[in-house]
Symmetry: C2
Subunit: 200 residues, 2 copies
């Protein structure tokens, strides 16, 4: 018996399933949750339950929402002729945080990744094609999958499906992160930064 209580053991086990949380961190979190006022620990328990019980997918874009349509799709000020395709809802948060994008989104819920058993049928591709068809081609699709091998493969796969529908298909820029060093960047990133150069 590692812990004096099976209840603690169960809590450590569930916490250690979280990404980036090893057994030791899980133990630290578990004992922290036992030390804080019970109300604080129960707020976390309830927040997890509420999130899973009340959130579903937006009927249009696949974003997480408590309603039928997400806050972005139901905002009439957003430009529906610019669709930004992302892997996960979290990527939308990063893009929204810039405050510069006024279009709408489409959440793929993954990327092509044969090794993980993720094929085209596992992505939310058909709804995206439907949205582009409905716009009669008057649309720009910005593919904002991550600049990984899987993200690139997915971008090319989608571009091949979207171009025949008359959509303008673009890809987010890859280059040196702002505030970073060229010296510290990997060679593929430096090559992409050179390739994507612009007139000053």
């Amino acid at each position: 018996m590692q812990y004096s209580s099976g209840v603690i053991e169960a809590l450590v086990k569930e916490l250690s399933r979280l990404p980036g949380i090893g057994r030791k961190s899980a133990q630290r979190l578990a004992f922290h949750l036992m030390r804080v006022p019970a109300a604080e620990a129960l707020l976390l328990s309830d927040a997890i339950r509420a999130a899973r019980q009340n959130l579903g997918s937006c009927r249009v874009c696949g974003n997480l929402t408590e309603e039928d349509l997400c806050a972005i799709c139901s905002d009439s000020r957003r430009d529906v002729r610019t669709i930004c395709v992302v892997e996960e809802p979290m990527d939308m948060v990063a893009i929204e945080r810039t405050g510069t994008f006024r279009g709408v989104y489409h959440v793929l819920r993954g990327v092509l990744s044969p090794l993980d058993g993720m094929g085209p049928e596992d992505l939310s591709t058909d709804p995206l094609l439907g949205r582009v068809r409905d716009s009669a081609g008057e649309v720009e699709v910005i593919i904002a999958t991550n600049p990984t091998a899987q993200g690139e493969a997915t971008a090319h796969y989608l571009a091949g499906l979207l171009r025949p529908l008359g959509a303008r298909v673009t890809r987010i820029a890859r280059g040196i992160p702002v505030g970073s060093d060229i010296e510290l960047s990997d060679q593929v990133t430096v090559a992409k930064a050179l390739e994507g150069r612009k007139e000053l």
Copy 2:
């Protein structure tokens, strides 16, 4: 509005209260919990609730337990004449893991820390003195508070209370961690390692 949903916002907020979890990690954990099967997320929610609702303090030592007495205090094979004093239940786990300690514990639930408003009255001191008195002095108390300023102060404070009761009071050794380098150790640790030297 940072997230498209207040439910997500609430979940990120509660996760970011956890020690060592910043806002970005909390966000990553929140979206992870939305991506896994609902049953997995609800297991975590339930484990937190169960831990807070079913665990209390052992009547004798203060360890976390679902019963009146913890698993260690109710184990008749443990030597009640050796009491190891620790700050928190998590420290017991670390000591139990060694498999070498056959005595019992006493959980202080903190250390003396005037800056954090922790005084002698906030520690579980009286029950410890009671246990020592009940043993008529036939007891060794190993003080295993952390080797920090507060842990040392607490150790000396407890020793001053315990010695008049006839208890043998010992302190865990401070020295170079096994597998570590003398070169990399701070000077106080090296000094303590020299001071605590033993005949070969």
